[in-house]
Symmetry: D2
Subunit: 347 residues, 4 copies
């Protein structure tokens, strides 16, 4: 094992400051584990972080991305949570183990890997052992890497904040990573799933994944179509990933006493809704910011027991990060993943 | 007992169409009770209904108002829920007994007394026995009449939708009926209560009722003051009765994982909030539209056991309805009530 | 339509007092509907009621059984909840619509059809329209009749009292009606289901219905086997239908923070458990007594959307009631149903 | 500061093996804090541990007791959770921070201080910083020490497992530490509190603390008296600290849909109840084993904001431990506390 490794990092904000560099391979300190990266799943938020910094006070060199699957190759003193050889995934919000997040109301925290904390686009990462959980035993590397952020967000909304019951109706917007996890998980919980998309082709693929209804928002007024399909009853749960005044349209599509999960609209934009519909429906809107570690462990367990397979749009090689980031803009169907060849460093 | 009675009604929408008329006293049909009115509590919504109709397809002559306390004077066949002589109050949403409201997502219902259903500004009312609950035994008539709408709204938000625990922080806006019930009920549940108002005098009176902190929104940035008073922790529950982009300010003042109850902003206005704060705080916004009958029964029980006394701003006589409606505009401190003299008809 | 009908009734407690008699067909009063019976599902409790009266102050002639599917053939004045021709099922606890049941702590109520209220083993029944809900559109008559009691009990335990999530473990005892509904509903919600039975044949049939694990309690210590199968983690939810000190064994098999639903052990027997395991596991034991009407409507909806088919052990003709009751003792696999021929009366 | 300190410890199970010894004062390792003890609150369970070992595989010398308030006097490397001088209390279950406890279903864990983990009857303790929370600012030392176990148990039952609302009825058995915290906290949450005791004198003192009703179980059938006092409605929440078939009596006293919290009956005894009452009332029995750290922090906050003062039965000096243990048997009214003189070591 050489003592160097390759790592994507930036010395300032901006796509043009992103480069692949050889750096010293870290050595695990007390309580830490050294993990050899096998795959990294990208989120749209990674692209925003690279291009804008998202208002966070980053330290440079900055390594982007948060979702990793890898193999434990060494442990520091007192680090007994994992054995060498264990396959692990990262937890997005490393200090939030369970229950309630805590922090300032004046400056609510966005304490995630690849943000306030270091990122994972590196051949090895060396973090506190508490920042990892066991990877799913039934998924390959690319699939396993997708649970940390997109998978957990959908799970946390539907089963920690929400309480989806068999026979209820769940609606997802688009076919990105969170939406497709929402589709698959809601279907596994016995729900009737509605997908709204601008592409008939994607709708057909969503139906093949188990959606009961596909609504093309370009050829139909999607809210009216939801009313029609449900005989005016509306849908019980909506994963709202669009934001702005689209929130108000989701409120219109919602059933009485329904719930909307407002996910990751982190551009600082404003969301809005008609007040009367919110009150008269006694609707609930819950902000979602990924989820806690125990829920991630529950998700891994559920995925293994259900045999659920996350949807991968496309895999890229470690040195194809720029192409992968470009692809994020093109409305993928599922997740985009960077896979590391087993002998990448020696290349 | 003569067979006539006096009743406020309108033959069309508009303050100028409101008049006090002598009409036939109704006779209870199967399952109905005839109730002699003792007091009627007014809500701002009654004024809106009179002046605008609020978009509801009213039938005329229309009798306004929803919150009544009275005495059962006769029962129809099969009406055994109450005995003659029982003192009862109306339930705002007469068909919603418990659990979830139901209805159309396309046209969410606003099925209340003094709206879709008949109102109560009448010497006698004759409704289905299921539309009433036993009045509080520890309150006088004016006080007892205030639980049906303002009291139940605050109770339903804090204890059915929310789960206020001792030591948590609850914030109310202003000193209207819902806000003062929120103050008193949250205090009774062991919460630390914040009141935001534009009047130092009203803040002093709110403190006397048990509020821990009063914030003058005219002389301070109320959100910053809440941050300061809570060492940036924010407040756990907010009764949001203002609407518009004020919702966003409430989100700013909210603690992580806090809850906002959006109450009765029924003008069709839009509410808005920064998306990032909602997501990062994992805040919940719940629309509130009064509450179900079992909760009203719970509230009556709680008021009696706690010895809680609703705050009455001012009482008016039955023929002073116009003055009472005018007074609703003047920022009352608590509820405005119409009291009926015991021998009013004979006057 | 003749004005007579056949009806099973008793003039005193005891199997030998049960007879099939011709009686006057009722005429619906205000708010009532007349329903022509298509099928009646039997519960073990019906047999106990016939043989022991279960301590209830019955009025005679007493008609047993509670679970009916039939067709509305006439409506009384004001009965607009259903149209003539609608297929409906009975609700077991006719006055419990939603939320909390109410009643005396000193003498908790057992207010069900075929008990305090009249039963349904009759060619026609005439009840308040509120005692029925729409039958499932996707089930045949025998299947549709099984939701009222066995189906609702399992549903209410798992999804109203409990909160089964995908990937959790659910255990059912035996293969009676409630247990098999529990199996099918938990499976539909994404759970991993364990079945405990004394018959390998029944276990094989339960696996075919979707159970992940079958444990033969005659050839194994079922608790130890559950520990082994779960690597000592235990199961998250148990439908406990045995009672006595078997409850304590279920507590042993339970995961930390797990839930046991204690169902219908109505013989007045005592249940017991080791106290230490209950406390240290922070386990919850919830008594279940069927469920409310809104949950029955939710179950019907879920069954239709999931395509779930209740398991029928055997159907009997209307005049074979004695044989059907005998069959209840023989450890059926699923439900026992009485089906009425379309022209039975004329026979 | 000398390097020795006094400590109560045992070299084997049994009261006669308990002695006060001079030992080396520990030095905080990485992540640890050294805390100078100010007071230690005793629980009945400490006495059982000393006399029986409670089936736990203890390591000797064994230091008993779990509930400490003290001052941080030194911190190890990386221990930044507290500053020197901070006043802190111990958390009973040191690894349970929030959410669900985890562990084996076959051998449910009892991982507490003064048991599996070291105890606190020592002039100084040296533990991981995560095992402490900030002490209440409004309580003196003796009072502050009582929150860790008795206070948290009552809080966790009523506000984490349960959901006490204003106006509900809460019943506590006896006047021990958990019962009196239950009384005070339930009262602070707006509940109507019932106390059952065998002493009129203690009942009078409980009424003075805010109980609405005292029932003498020696002169009355307490269940019938509860039925009478509640007009047969029963009580909504019961802290059950007796166990055995007393659980069944609590079920009889319970309201429909009520909740019993089964607390700390750790002798391995069996609890039992009539099955029919449990099912028909749809009652819930929840095992309680103290609580998690976030709830302890919430309790400290609530105590400070409410101005609640825990009830101390009697304080003893550090060298009076034997007398204090004897006093535990004598039905104290509130907590028994060992207070350390400021200069005890030098004595």
């Amino acid at each position: 094992m050489s003592s160097a490794m390759m790592q994507w990092s930036m010395d300032a904000i901006g796509r043009d400051r992103l480069g692949l560099h050889s750096v010293e391979r870290p050595v695990p300190g007390p309580g830490q584990v050294l993990v050899r990266t096998r795959a990294v799943s990208l989120n749209y938020r990674d692209k925003m972080m690279i291009e804008t910094g998202m208002g966070i006070d980053l330290s440079f060199p900055f390594v982007p991305a948060s979702d990793l699957v890898g193999t434990v190759v060494a442990s520091g003193t007192g680090a007994e949570r994992f054995a060498v050889g264990d396959r692990v995934i990262t937890h997005f919000s490393p200090h939030w183990r369970e229950g309630w997040p805590s922090g300032s109301a004046a400056q609510p925290p966005y304490n995630s890997l690849g943000g306030v904390y270091p990122g994972v686009l590196s051949e090895y990462v060396c973090f506190d052992q508490e920042w990892f959980v066991q990877a799913s035993a039934t998924l390959d590397d690319a699939q396993a890497s997708t649970l940390s952020c997109a998978g957990l967000t959908a799970w946390f909304a539907l089963f920690e904040l929400g309480r989806v019951k068999p026979g209820q109706r769940v609606l997802v917007h688009g076919t990105g990573g969170v939406a497709l996890f929402g589709l698959q998980l809601a279907k596994a919980a016995g729900a009737e799933v509605f997908v709204v998309s601008g592409s008939d082709d994607k709708l057909a693929r969503a139906m093949a994944l188990g959606a009961a209804h596909g609504v093309n928002r370009k050829t139909q007024d999607w809210v009216q179509e939801v009313h029609r399909l449900t005989a005016d009853a509306g849908v019980d749960h909506i994963l709202e990933t669009v934001g702005g005044d689209h929130l108000g349209r989701s409120v219109e599509a919602l059933a009485l006493r329904g719930a909307i999960y407002l996910i990751g609209v982190l551009e600082g934009f404003t969301v809005s809704s008609p007040a009367a519909a919110l009150s008269l429906k006694m609707a609930t809107i819950s902000g979602v910011s990924v989820g806690h570690r125990r829920a991630l462990e529950d998700l891994v367990t559920a995925v293994d027991r259900l045999g659920l397979k996350p949807v991968i749009d496309r895999c890229f090689a470690f040195d194809e990060l720029p192409q992968a980031l470009d692809h994020l803009n093109q409305g993928p169907f599922g997740k985009i993943v960077i896979e590391l060849a087993k002998d990448w460093t020696s290349a």
